[in-house]
């Protein structure tokens, strides 16, 4: 455990000082400010427009950070062979991967909450305290935990571009999982119908971590949803971390 925490600590320290990380944070803040003007231009409740656009910005920038800052940091360690020095210490490959996932995830979580706080203050300045933003930040953090473990799995492969593409695809398909499942019901061919349904079950359903609409429109969410989301998060992180470790064990560095 000491080794895992130490790798995480190094990853966080390195990440927070990385210019890419700071640039992402800077551009995210710029876009959140832009949402005020968007609220003025678009027809409808300006606060809701700001919240809607702002939450989307936070979500996309968190994903970009997982891909570029997180995955990039593992790739850099392998390519520049820093990993050789680390693996020569009293640590095994599994602990190294767990440390990387934990470190990258915590880095992204800090970023999510910073961006969410900024969005909350923007909306508060308009006279509304939208506490739900922090609930969504928590769920988005769980989603990014899953995506970090997925990204690390792909970044243990040697092709950077494909790793990036696969992670992005999982994000997009993950949010479409419920739609695919619904669509499967309309297929007449029983074989294809079952196949599509099972495929939709195999795809990580990232809609378990999405409450944007409920937050914006102030809808009630049952407590069981949060429990389900948390358990689903644990399951997915466990599966993808295990796969990442297996893949990294086989990788020549």
């Amino acid at each position: 455990m000491r080794a895992v925490l130490n790798v995480a600590r190094i990853t966080i320290k390195e990440g927070f000082r990385d210019k890419v990380y700071l640039s992402f944070l800077f551009f995210a803040v710029l876009l959140l400010i832009f949402s005020i003007f968007l609220g003025m231009l678009v027809v409808g409740d300006p606060t809701k427009v700001i919240a809607d656009f702002g939450l989307a910005v936070i979500s996309i920038f968190a994903l970009l950070m997982v891909i570029f800052v997180g995955g990039g940091s593992l790739m850099k360690e392998i390519q520049k062979k820093t990993v050789l020095v680390v693996l020569s210490k009293p640590i095994n490959r599994g602990e190294f991967i767990m440390g990387k996932i934990l470190g990258i995830w915590l880095e992204v979580v800090v970023n999510i909450f910073l961006m969410s706080l900024f969005l909350f203050l923007l909306i508060l300045a308009r006279g509304q305290a939208l506490w739900g933003i922090f609930v969504q930040a928590g769920l988005l953090s769980l989603e990014m935990g899953v995506l970090t473990s997925i990204a690390i799995l792909f970044y243990t492969f040697p092709t950077y571009f494909l790793s990036m593409l696969f992670t992005l695809s999982f994000y997009l398909v993950g949010h479409l999982a419920p739609t695919i499942e619904k669509a499967s019901r309309t297929i007449n061919n029983p074989f294809l119908r079952n196949l599509t349904r099972w495929v939709s079950y195999l795809i990580p359903n990232l809609e378990y971590f999405n409450l944007k609409n409920q937050v914006i429109y102030g809808l009630k969410v049952p407590a069981s949803f949060y429990l389900k989301s948390f358990l689903y998060f644990l399951l997915l992180v466990f599966v993808f971390t295990a796969l990442s470790i297996l893949s990294f064990e086989k990788r020549e560095v």
Partner: protein
Amino acid sequence: MEKVLQVKNLHKTYKTGFLLERKKVLHGVSFSVERGQIVGLLGPNGAGKTTTIKSILGITPVDSGEILIFGERLSKSAKAKIGYLPEAPYFYDYLTGMELLSAFSRFYGGVKRGRIEEVLSLVGLSEASKKRVRTYSKGMLQRLGLAQAILHDPHLIILDEPMSGLDPIGRREFREIINRLREEGKTILFSSHILQDVEMICDHVVMIYQGKVIKKGVLEEMLQEEVKFFEVTVEGVELEGMEAERKSGNRVLYRAESEEQVQEIIKRTMEKGGKVRAVVPRALTLEEIFIREVGKNEGSA
């Protein structure tokens, strides 16, 4: 003497390219390192030195063979007794030298107070310790690499091409540090393709070529047993029928190709009333031995 490291019959195959073609890089590498020795793993680029080192550290798995460190298989406790400097080391860009060593020390449960400052001073990085690693030159990275390798006061230090990329002054300083470690009784395994470095630093040599150990032994013995010719200096006489290598005053230096020829020169000098001042055996250099062994290996392949 205690065997610190035993490498027994290592075989390693890499799968390369899209079709995962198999390329065998180690063909039964075996050698051992005893406590206090400085062993040079000598071979050209691509000979299998780095793969051997990575196998010892458990960084790369082997097809077959056995590695024992302090008599036991590689474990976390065995790893804690090893310090490793990879070839052309690269560290975390945004950490300072001090922060990096502090972070690495945590893998060993911390180091004694003042140890980080001590190793930074030993490698000459005290002044740069608060600068970020990304601002370090290649030579400074190499020094930092050595600092992290000796930080936890390991018993066995493994250095992979530690002199590559260093300027002459840097090389000399590096040699001095290694000599200091030798005086402290550390055991060092040192890979290099530069024969001069090995000759100046190591007391034992393992020659590796195309994934095979082609010669190993005590460096001094290796050099002494391989006498190429003798230089005989005589005084007061000149021998007929023998070509002098050099003349200085009444001293003449002859070159003898065999011990019999040495005896003949001595006999003739004494007969003529001259004096034999010196008989110096001239050995093969490490380079000549290495090239001859490579030639033998290629001949038998």
